[in-house]
Amino acid sequence: MSHWTVVPVVLPAMLAAFLLLATRHHLSMQRILSVAGSVALWAVALGLFLRASSGEIDLYQLGDWQAPFGIVLVADRLSTLMLLLTATLAFFVLLHAIGTGWDGRGRHFHALFHFQIMGITGAFLTGDLFNLFVFFEVLLIASYGLMIHSGGTRRTQAGTQYVLYNLLGSTLFLFALGTIYAETGTLNMADLAERVTQIDLSQSAGIRVAAVLLVIVFAIKAAIAPVHFWLPSSYAEAPGPVAALFAIMTKVGAYSIIRIYTLVFPPDLEVTSGLLDVWLLPLALVGLTVGMIGVLGASRLDRLVAFSVIGSMGMLTVAVALFTTQGITAGLYYIVHSTFATAALFLIVDLVVRHRHGAGAELQAVRPVPGAPILAAMFFAAAIAMTGLPPLSGFVGKLLILDASFDSPLVVWTWAVILSTSLVAVVGFARAGSTVFWKAAQGGEAAEARADDPTTQQDNVESKPSSHPETQNALPLVAIGGLIGLIVLHTIFAGPVNRTLAATAEQLFAPETYIATVLTTDGKEIHHKAKHGEANLVSQEGRASDDGHEGEAEAGEGH
């Protein structure tokens, strides 16, 4: 047990509190600390990832209490992979937020940002279901603050909806946890995995309800149909960098599904058979279809990207729903890819929106976007990645998913839906891109001609720096470029990445090591034997008062 495992949770928490208390009035100080913190987090995450990649599972017992009584953090291959992904994404998003000045438009951006990171890393690391709920709440409450960062009526309205939806989701989570606890008497995932195997088939109703409730909760987080409705307006109205950070939040739902339904309720478990293995794949296909049709039908650029998130989550869930080593491998590859691709798209849309005069994110041809060639190229690259056209990683991911679905009974449906929705998505993105970047140029010229003003050109040049002083800043472009670079790297090194991910999936499907590590590692001993004389005394007193209470209670009921 090394204390490094808990650092990804403690570091952002401490940093956020420090930012809030000590540097609340110094934006530049906040920026420096925030970036330094995210680099440090990245380094720690990389260290943990490299250590876990030997196949070793790191256990951290909080307070040194032994599982299942104490809460544990577990760093295995999957957890550390997600940690590294989070830290990488957070760094680039932070660069963008600083470069565009989003962090200065409201208060406490950096503190909320790091609280959210804390919630996400905690959710990835924890080995306890109730702890998972707590970290969900941490990341959600930070996300509420970030979502309505810098205010505005539309954003607050979308925020209300988002908060309420997630509040209901949390309530459902608690119902699921209560049911699980009532059925098994534990909430530690490893312990749970052992206990559900001992449940008698004839008494499996409770645990089946709990399993379904849990998957609904995670589906809400992961925006899988039919509980995806909260996503489009929330993500579209959220500030650009925040929406980009939210790209990892849907993945928390996907991660939880992968974790719980390989560890606690594995596909070959008899008491929960006929639930997820039957229903998840069709729902994922529905989600994929809904998302990609939304891409085609969206009238605004930010909603278009938000719908593509639903589509990509659907695609990812298709891979996960196969519940085979190959499927999970493909799913993990797609998780990494779609996180970077959606984040890049949200950041690009943010830049486009701020550079278009008045039209905002509407898909209309207006005056050309300044810096259009670079932005257009980046949009093009990110859209290719998102829709899964060759040569970028979306294509590789899709190929892996198609390949993995060969043995599924729904293979025809899977292939048909994935391939046809790809076409729909390509058309949707092509339409959006050409409207914003190509027609903009023509429409812009026309508008200038109509204005019949020889000084328009000059006006343009002059008005740009004054209205958007941040335009000169190259940091946002660096951030987007970095994300696209990562997508390219993800494509080039698809072979090695895939081998790592396959090892991760194999570890997931052999949970014995995980369970043994969690349950057999010694911690502080738990004494529940009191000294004899004392215990007798206490028990006598206790019994006396018991009787009294019971008498009262019965009398109370009698009334």
């Binding site: 709440e137 539309r154 309205q157 908060v163 949390s170 209560g178 307006s233 034997k529 209470h549």
Partner: protein, 121 residues
């Protein structure tokens, strides 16, 4: 007692769900509050209903009540209380900003707001 607790949870949940479906912020928030009460009682009951027993396991104790759900429910109460406070503030902000307290995403309403904002610009 089981019947009392179970029907209490059931009625709270039903009332909460009904209110949530009203789609106006005030009833929806009251509805989520009722739902969290329901889930808190449910969590409490998940450790079995025992009256008047100590929440400590001892060799000599003949009976005990499960202490864990009590800890869980405390956490849940704190979180749901905080969340309710947050949602009240955000909903109030949305209502004061738009003069509309609909929870659902009304595209038409949003478009009107957007046009107003554009005009103001």
């Amino acid at each position: 007692m089981e019947l009392l607790v179970a029907s209490g949870i059931g009625i709270l949940t039903a009332a909460g769900l009904y209110l949530v479906m009203r789609l106006r912020t005030f009833p929806v928030i009251i509805g989520t509050a009722l739902l969290t009460y329901a889930v808190n009682v449910f969590l409490f009951a998940s450790g079995r209903l025992v009256v008047g027993a100590p929440p400590i396991l001892m060799e000599s104790a003949s009976d005990y009540t499960d202490p864990l759900p009590q800890a869980l429910v405390l956490t849940a109460i704190v979180i749901s209380f905080g969340m309710t406070a947050v949602v009240v503030v955000i909903a109030l902000g949305a209502y004061l900003g738009s003069g509309d307290d609909h929870v659902d995403d009304q595209d038409g309403a949003l478009d009107t707001v957007r046009k107003l904002e554009n005009v103001n610009r």
